[in-house]
């Protein structure tokens, strides 16, 4: 649109400007009540009374507890947590690989043809998709609470809770990674008579292995943290230890456990890096 301002110079306005302005205004109007509902009041942080309370709380964390007896307990709990996370992820992979491969369209023979079984495979995909949604739709803490009731206190419940939710998450991401890569190699193999799994191994895995592995390791890292939450409801490991320390208001112990967490996350980061380098 060409307008002439009072000075007489030609003035060109951006036709998208008004719609963009409206979009920003509408977003703000929607966002504001949400912040209100979430009781988002960051200024409370600056309240001197609150600063004092916070300070007193944080002071308890220093210094970390380094008594030999406690460190030994932490070590055992760390191993338990790692075992829980690793076993959970291993089971999750067992759930996720078949589900992910079933859902992924890039390995669909019925898409290429013949059309006769198309409805059937569509139905199978729907069931798999629903199962995946159900697994990851329920938070792991709920699964943990439920499973603790069945298996009693201890890591079994934590492992299964992680396996179930993470199986759902991994299968969703696996199928998306498989579809976002270059699917032509797998398709070419399918058209020359290869089976789905062979086409996956020869056509799809080489180009997606890196991404699949690094996402799985990231999920392992998340599982280490999730096992803590599971620990709070009695599923053992570092979480249970942290829960006890917090209940006894023992800040030194809590900060020791937090340091261990940092080390574990750092470890996961390096494992991921190592695997990515290997698969390059």
């Amino acid at each position: 649109m060409k307008h002439h301002s009072s000075s007489g110079k030609p003035y060109i306005s951006d036709p998208a400007a008004s719609s963009r302005l409206t979009l920003i205004a509408v977003s703000l109007v929607i966002l504001w009540p949400m912040l209100e509902l979430a009781q988002f009041q960051p200024w409370l942080l600056l309240n001197p009374e609150n600063i004092e309370v916070l300070g007193n709380f944080l002071v308890q964390f220093i210094p970390p507890n380094t008594e030999a007896d406690f460190l030994r307990i932490v070590l055992v709990a760390t191993i338990e947590t790692l075992a829980m996370a690793t076993a959970g992820i291993a089971l999750a992979i067992l759930i996720a690989v078949p589900l992910g491969l079933t859902i992924s369209h890039s390995l669909s023979i019925s898409r290429i043809g013949p059309g006769s079984n198309y409805l059937f495979s569509k139905f199978v995909r729907f069931i798999a998709r629903f199962l995946m949604l159900f697994l990851r739709g329920i938070p792991e803490i709920v699964w943990a609470l439920l499973l603790v009731r069945i298996f009693g206190l201890g890591p079994t419940a934590g492992v299964l809770a992680i396996a179930i939710t993470y199986g759902g998450m991994l299968s969703k991401v696996y199928s998306e990674i498989l579809e976002s890569g270059n699917t032509l190699p797998a398709r070419a193999l399918l058209v020359s008579g290869s089976g789905r799994l062979a086409a996956f191994f020869y056509g799809l895995l080489p180009s997606t292995a890196q991404e699949l592995a690094s996402y799985t390791v990231y999920r392992w890292e998340c599982a280490v943290r999730a096992s803590v939450v599971a620990g709070f409801v009695g599923a053992g490991g570092l979480g249970q230890l942290m829960d006890q320390s917090m209940k006894m208001l023992n800040g030194g112990e809590v900060s020791t456990i937090l340091v261990v967490f940092f080390i574990l996350v750092l470890l996961a980061d390096n494992i991921s890096l190592l695997i990515r380098k290997q698969l390059e």
Binding site: G115, G193, G195, P206, S207, A209
Partner: protein, 258 residues
Amino acid sequence: MGCIVQNISFNHANGNKALKNISFSVNSGESIAIIGASGSGKTTLLNLLSTALKPTTGYIEHNGSNPWLVSKKALKKIRSTIGTVHQSPPIPSQQRVVTAVLAGRLGQWSLFKSVISLIYPLDILGPHTCLERLQLGDRLFDRCDCLSGGQLQRVGVARVLYQAPQLLLADEPVSAMDPVLSDSVISQLINETVSRNATLIASLHAVDIALRWFPRIIGIKNGEIAFDLPPAVVTESMLKELYASEMGNLPMQANRGV
């Protein structure tokens, strides 16, 4: 493999008519070159022959059976007897050459053998022999991302030689190679076809290669067969007519400026 193509047409999803009423038949031992301007429907025809696409109307029979009417299992078997050389080889760049060639036999192998071969190739001599024929034997254990475009195209050819299909389809199989190499690769494809009494159908951009090597030429223009003749009978004016959309300039390997 004998193929009958009966009145096939193919419409793309957007309604674009790629092929109209195409019919021809081909016997075992025959080699056919398909020529035509860009966008004339050569690749679509090959995709229909490879059963990657289903004809909108009409039918294709491979050795007497219509792949779109048989069971899933029978179709898989038909597909394993058809090998396609693609213009840009559908090979993951992280894969080793030996694995990319072995992939040609996935349709014949059990899943167990396929997976083991991924870790340790159960057949090394086979792929090596195929690569030797294309002067690529020394690249057996290299990764595909260290190959040039022409070398990768030859890996695609080696895969199909290793597959040993009854119907060899090739979509501009030598488009990234220099003239000397092009001739040697085409001669390998034709030798393979004749020696195993298979069938070769190749689309070619370079008209001179088609006329030099193939005993039968099918010219396609705007999705229809313009002529289906032995090369001796194909005249200059027929070719000019075929490439009218490209100002009558005949695409030759010689003037491609390699």
